[in-house]
Symmetry: C2
Subunit: 159 residues, 2 copies
């Protein structure tokens, strides 16, 4: 025996679905808001772009070089764009392309020591900006969200 109220709420409400949808919309809103701010600061304060920062960040993590084909997997930018960015970085002597012995068509990309220095400075600004943009979360709160996002990610990675 259910009351009319219960039946009606069974039919009209799916709280779990709405809760996760709301979470997703907030996540998107926060990430685009922060991303917009990063783009602005990179452009205004450092004359650079977020895609270029992302390419340098990926290369920085692989000091021994990263295959061009793997590079785009680490990024949010499209493949064509990556090649253009890498061309510019190479011209500016911030990155290098190295042939892979035994594979004529494949290349490794890596940052030059100068490129590593430039990125390392930029990364410090980036870290401080993020710290500033997320200052409303205490360290404990940031850790809570971090752990829960990691938990949510586990299912993505298996999928």
């Amino acid at each position: 025996m259910t009351t009319p109220q219960m039946q009606s709420s069974d039919i009209t409400k799916k709280p779990d679905t709405k809760t996760r949808l709301r979470l997703w919309l907030r996540l998107l809103k926060l990430s685009s808001s922060i991303e917009g701010e990063l783009r602005k600061r990179l452009r205004d304060d450092h004359g650079t772009t977020l895609p270029r920062f992302d390419v340098m960040a990926a290369l920085y993590r692989y000091p021994d070089g990263l295959r061009m084909s793997d590079l785009s997997d680490h990024l949010r930018v499209s493949n064509g764009n990556v090649t253009g960015i890498l061309d510019r970085l190479t011209e500016e002597e911030l990155a290098l392309r190295v042939a892979i012995p035994g594979d004529r068509r494949a290349h490794l990309a890596c940052l030059t020591p100068k490129g590593r220095d430039v990125f390392s400075d930029l990364a410090k600004f980036h870290e401080n900006w993020i710290n500033d943009l997320l200052h409303r979360l205490s360290m404990e709160e940031a850790e809570t969200v971090s752990a829960l996002l990691e938990q949510a990610l586990a299912s993505q990675e298996r999928a």
Copy 2:
């Protein structure tokens, strides 16, 4: 009087900064992973795109019409792209452009009743996908993250 260990950790560690940076990287990873999955499902199961879905979602929220100039503020896509998407939606009789009386150059865009039906169906799939992609978070956990992201957003919106 501090011990050498304490001095060393003071100099080398800035736990807050790293915690918030780690949170940001996870947030980005989760949002691009989910976004990639949404793109795939919209394309494979419904022959449509995420930018088109976003344009329809924005128009759906404003049944009385949204200024073209305001539309792009609600979206992650570039302006040129929005115009192209709206042209297609108009051709397919899913959206309409209406002149604003007294302002020759401005137009309102809105979904047609058919467009509202199409989006409403798509939105149900989208809600279920999100629910599925975030299933590793219980409702309580999703609510915790949601509330903390809202708290983090408060500072973005004021900035």
